[in-house]
Symmetry: C2
Subunit: 703 residues, 2 copies
């Protein structure tokens, strides 16, 4: 970190002097609150109220304007109306204030005019060397040293203990709610940031800084939309390296949620599925339940993402265990039974456990020695990667039976504890001891699912075969600056390792039949070849199942006539005659550059039904073969090539290679490629490969 950044973040979180611009001397007003909050929670720096009508505000000497303040100001909290913000920023520039936090709303979140005003503001601040938090930001909290600079009523009221969780929330109105929920779950906080419109300082940039903050052990993000993704990715990767989990709760899973997020924060939310791929690619844990935000960090703190995700389950209450395990089952999480050696070893020590995936000790096993022995064995055993330990009623009234052993257990692998009763004291003991305790079966399962999806960030650059890059580049150069036709697109896919069905082109004027030396034999399909026609079927440009030369002659004539009538302006490069092929499955394999997240690769099953079921796998590109294989596993409809019900297996290896190949378009060499899609890609039986039947490459228009 450079010196300027250090000064910015010191001023943001640990200012020696804070100017409260617009601080009210009426205790009933929000704008009087920061001063009160700062004092109440032990801020030891200097507070300078800026108020043109009062020489003193609640005991602090006030000044009519920033320009009148004799001291150096580290952080200005602007609580003036939107219309007065720009002028105040000008004063900050004049006074060389490193950071200005802006409370006013009415900027980007309020429509086009506000967006323009915000852009102007940021431009001016950048020019003048002032960093901005907000606008539409309710403030920040630091616990060491204490700096509770916020207009939030809850933040004023709450006694926030120092702890290792940092919270960044895009919703200002939820900031207090989040913190109070965290306190309710026994956690403490290092920093709390209402990030507002992120006009300048973003959640990503602050996260990046928090990775190096000694007071912060995990960063919790409450997001409505994904902004500044590349920087968040860098921060997240560094966080994994140093073992600080980044946990995100993101709205916008549903269409209605997306529309709310959009109206609420002033930026269109990206596709939620793409966000998921982004989190996965960068080792960010995503939770689905609000409370899991606060319960998950302890589960993964000090651990790296696991390669395997086998869960062992022990309990003294079968019903209580089932509330979690049943849910894990619907999520596809693998629950494993202990191996015979473990069972036998315990039996030798007089501890009998039942066979099967649920180690239910029952009422008889509700003893600290039994619970502890089983727990320790499961943690020590190689057969599982996480231990889920459930405790029954004893957790409430005899915590020494289950909570005790949990607290004493080794921390060699993640241990998730679910207490079946309402057991606040037991949960608090677990929290104090750094054991991940869960209050509801739902948040417990949610956390385990997030852990299952937590994978090591993919290497920044996967090994790319230079030959592949070279040949694909050549194939792209053929149509540089214009749209390619189907054959030209196919050449790109071919270069990337995705073969196309054998083809023969009948040029204008040439005989409409197959030469004897053609690579193609009947039956064939004939398609119009034109860069100008995106939807060939709609213009009558495709004839299927052509069995002989006569039918081919007819087909070619009919296609030429149809296209001449319905798309008279299109340049026709010929008629593409392609071997008719059929596969065990038809898939869609796509690549695109998402505006938020960058290059992604998408795999789905072809056809309307698959579209209805939204049955796709998305990853940030490029992907490794291992990651591509997880995509093939993830698409439900591809069970038909994975041996479902004795059906013949498809060539999954070839499909994996095709995914990896197409994902290489993410490389810098291919920056011009905006989108590429093979649709359909036929998956042939094992060992016979895959065949692209149609495809399209879209490049950025050269200017």
């Amino acid at each position: 970190m450079n010196q300027q950044d250090r000064r910015v973040f010191d001023s943001l979180f640990s200012p020696r002097t804070i100017a409260l611009v617009g601080a009210s001397n009426d205790a009933g007003k929000h704008t009087s609150r920061p001063q009160r909050s700062l004092r109440k929670h032990g801020y030891t720096g200097k507070i300078v109220p800026i108020n043109p009508r009062h020489p003193e505000v609640f005991g602090d000497q006030a000044y009519p304007s920033l320009l009148d303040v004799p001291d150096e100001i580290d952080h200005a909290f602007l609580m003036v109306p939107a219309a007065a913000v720009l002028e105040t920023i000008e004063q900050c520039i004049q006074r060389r204030v490193p950071v200005a936090t802006i409370y006013a709303d009415g900027f980007a979140e309020a429509g086009d005019e506000g967006r323009k005003a915000q852009e102007e503001l940021v431009a001016r601040a950048r020019e003048g060397g002032v960093r901005i938090l907000g606008p539409n930001c309710s403030g920040i909290v630091n616990t060491e040293p204490s700096c509770t600079m916020s207009v939030n009523a809850a933040i004023e009221q709450l006694e926030v203990p120092a702890g290792n969780l940092a919270v960044i929330s895009q919703s200002g109105s939820m900031t207090g709610g989040l913190v109070s929920r965290g306190l309710g779950r026994g956690v403490g906080f290092s920093k709390i940031v209402s990030i507002g419109n992120e006009s300048d300082l973003s959640a990503a940039e602050i996260t990046d800084w928090l990775v190096d903050d000694p007071h912060t052990g995990a960063v919790l993000l409450f997001l409505e939309t994904l902004r500044d993704a590349p920087r968040l990715a860098r921060a997240a990767r560094r966080a994994v390296e140093v073992g600080k989990p980044i946990v995100v709760y993101k709205l916008g899973r549903s269409d209605v949620g997306r529309s709310l997020a959009a109206s609420h924060t002033g930026s269109m939310a990206g596709s939620d599925e793409v966000a998921d791929a982004f989190f996965r690619a960068n080792g960010i844990l995503r939770v689905d339940n609000l409370e899991t935000l606060f319960e998950l960090p302890t589960l993964v703190a000090g651990h790296q993402p696991s390669k395997r995700h086998r869960v062992a389950v022990m309990s003294t209450t079968g019903g209580g265990a089932a509330t979690v395990v049943d849910r894990l089952g619907t999520m596809g999480v693998e629950v494993v039974a202990p191996p015979a050696e473990l069972v036998d070893g315990l039996a030798e020590r007089g501890v009998t456990i039942p066979p099967g995936p649920l180690t239910d000790l029952t009422h008889a096993g509700t003893r600290a020695d039994v619970y502890g022995a089983v727990l320790d064995e499961l943690i020590a055993s190689d057969h599982c990667d996480l231990v889920l330990a459930i405790a029954g009623s004893s957790a409430q009234f005899q915590p020494e039976i289950s909570v005790g052993p949990l607290i004493r257990a080794a921390k060699d692998k993640p241990v998730a504890a679910f207490l079946a009763p309402h057991a606040e004291a037991g949960l608090a003991q677990l929290a104090d001891a750094g054991v991940a305790g869960f209050r509801t079966p739902e948040s417990c399962a949610d956390a385990i699912k997030a852990w299952v999806n937590w994978t090591a960030p993919a290497g920044a650059g996967l090994d790319t075969d230079p030959t592949v890059v070279e040949s694909a580049t050549r194939a792209l150069e053929v149509f540089a600056g214009r749209r390619p036709n189907e054959l030209e697109s196919a050449a790109v896919f071919d270069a990337l390792g995705v073969p196309t069905a054998a083809t023969h082109v009948i040029s204008s004027g040439a005989a409409a039949r197959l030469p004897t030396d053609a690579a193609v034999s009947y039956p064939v399909v004939a398609k119009v070849l034109s860069a100008d026609i995106a939807h060939k079927t709609e213009v009558g440009g495709v004839v299927l199942r052509i069995g002989n030369d006569d039918d081919l002659t007819d087909a070619v004539a009919s296609i030429r006539q149809n296209v001449a009538e319905r798309k008279p302006d299109a340049t026709i490069d010929g008629i593409l005659v392609q071997q008719m092929r059929s596969g065990l499955a038809e898939v869609i394999l796509g690549f695109r550059r998402d505006p938020d997240v960058g290059p992604v690769v998408v795999l789905g099953v072809g056809g309307t039904l698959a579209e209805l079921y939204k049955d796709i796998a998305i990853r940030v590109a490029p992907v490794s073969p291992d990651e591509a294989r997880t995509m093939v596993e993830e698409v439900t409809g591809l069970a038909v090539i994975r041996g479902y019900r004795g059906m013949p297996k498809g060539d999954c290896d070839a499909l994996v290679a095709a995914i990896v190949g197409v994902s290489q378009l993410a490389g810098d060499e291919f920056a011009a490629v905006e989108e590429a899609e093979v649709n359909p890609l036929l998956v042939l039986p094992e060992g016979e490969g895959v065949v692209a039947v149609d495809g399209l490459v879209v490049c950025r228009a050269t200017t």
Copy 2:
């Protein structure tokens, strides 16, 4: 209720004399607990410990055996080992004890031997006039009058306030956990029952009794499996009539959950989807989150199931509201914007609300008068059927702003309140006032989803057309006592109003071509007609796309030869020649008698993909046209006939009629029909109907 039942339930919950058989005088033993619990929680009746080795146990005179007790005994709690249970039941019979609760496990839940022992036990008890609760039951709690007869440690410790919730749990070890969680959510209880193996007294029978219990306002069921469904259905229907919600949390959603439930309770869980259909048909509310069990009753108490399910949302925190609304969106719940009149009316009173489905009052609207005005208007307005009111940080520190208006609001429609912060005091105030407050966004959305799925129980007997019954009965009589062939099955479906494609049968020896007067014309499909061949394609018994007489002759010969080779013993009734038809969609329409729930009707999309996506709708049969229409709406893949992306619409009305028709097999007249399935049923374009292409009816073997 007859006098005998009254005596049983009085003895179960309000016994004047309890015999504790096997009561220990060692305070460290579970078997000493009921005596202590009863006394601690204020039981005023007589306690008689049965202990052969001590004349007195903790101050109560003890007797060596039940036979030695001078008093009349209302309720015997058997805490003897499994092997001694039968003998003790004999004593109960001798002493005319109306109810015996059995703590011992090792019965049906432990395998075949235990199951046999349990059956023997129940048979003897029935004979002798003793009703049994359990075995594998930890006891019961009544709060008015107090009777805490349980071996559960948590139950002993907890101070359970009287309230209107009754809990019945199939998991004994979760009983304490459930109650402590309910207490944590501020509710009180009327009765708590560990139902055990339900060898005699079932959750259904007790629920039925609780419907008439003046102390019980709602019944909460923690189920691992569905038992005694017909009785539970009757109880649930009565409960809807009297306005007492029955709320169920049922395990077994996942395969792994099902297997746990099976090993745990000693009975195979039925299909979870069928259970869902059962709950829906009988007005039982099913929750997905454990905590919702305790939060939901207040939401629906005093209300009947609604015909429409439009949700209005108001909030002072946009982010907090989105945590619930985003989730509602993924569940397909309809969130509606307030009408212009409502917006205008509020504006006239000086309250400005934004347009759109989320009425976000923002920080500016964080005032009791504003919050109350908007809430009251939404409750009074016809545009919505439920109001979801979210409160921000103020709910924690200024409850008068949001909690106050919620408490004062009219109860004309269900109001769900979600408090975004950790606001225990606010939640307690809401609970005290009978307002449904939710602690997490997840349980709030879960409750609203349960309310959306809550429909009025279908009429016991739907109107059945006697003509239909008569003709279907005749069609069934044709093959009474044996398996039907395809044509005979088709006649049944036809009688039920599901037409089959035109057919012509070529008998053995007849010419293998279409007569000029045949109802069928080329192209056709030829299929072997035999009651002995279930899978025609597998034996080479089907030829598709036959275009002329010559091809038909070949096809018939080839089918006869294939079948003679591969299925030589099959009786061949001829070759069925059927018009080739194609539809906009192929669906599966099935009927079966579920062993737990009884007749159900199932609608799904045909093909492997639909099977993979488990895209089906199930209802208890018979169904009304309205209910059948909800099935057509529910199947995702049927979007292709609902006008998805401008695709031509299918004849949904005809599909609805077909569902209703097949569902009539539930009638008593058709008791012999075990299963029936049309597969595929083609849905033709609007106005053109549906056509069954193949189908099968399976009747019970006549003996």
